[in-house]
Symmetry: C2
Subunit: 94 residues, 2 copies
């Protein structure tokens, strides 16, 4: 019953890495995949979704898009919490 | 009958500039404001929305979020079109 995970955390890698993650996840019997990103990686997440839709999976539709704010842990020398925007994009295979 | 524009193009300025734009637009009798951004400015648009919601306008809700892809004009030395992701976020004052 093992399945590919249906949550993909988008970070600093190039968008194509996450495109592969999306394709792998859908090939593992998931009907829904959620991308989670924060800060500058939000753009990478949107790029990955757009590349997947245009090049590979034309029957992919975008479900819920949620945005939010998270507090980042303090780093040395910081005396104020840093807030960072987050986005979750759910993809649905029709 | 002049109104503040209800489309805000998000570019390379800091998010607070666009927060001011959102507030100004809503104060000009608009009930809806749409932010349009592409590339790295997508993150700035999300930041501006989150800052506005958390600091100023708690009764602001997020309507439609649309994403897409645009072809950028060729620049000197480029021989392939560059594609860039776009995002439109519509804000609704309840």
């Amino acid at each position: 019953m093992s399945r590919e995970p249906n949550v993909i955390y988008v970070g600093r890698k190039p968008p194509m890495n996450y495109v592969l993650g999306i394709l792998t996840s859908f090939s593992g019997s998931n009907a829904k995949v959620t991308l989670k990103a924060r800060g500058q990686a939000i753009t990478t997440a949107v790029d990955a979704v757009e590349i997947t839709r245009h090049r590979s999976m034309k029957d992919l539709s975008i479900g819920k898009i949620a945005m939010g704010t998270e507090e980042m842990p303090l780093r040395e020398g910081e005396n104020r919490a840093r807030m960072v925007s987050t986005m979750e994009i759910t993809l649905i295979l029709q």
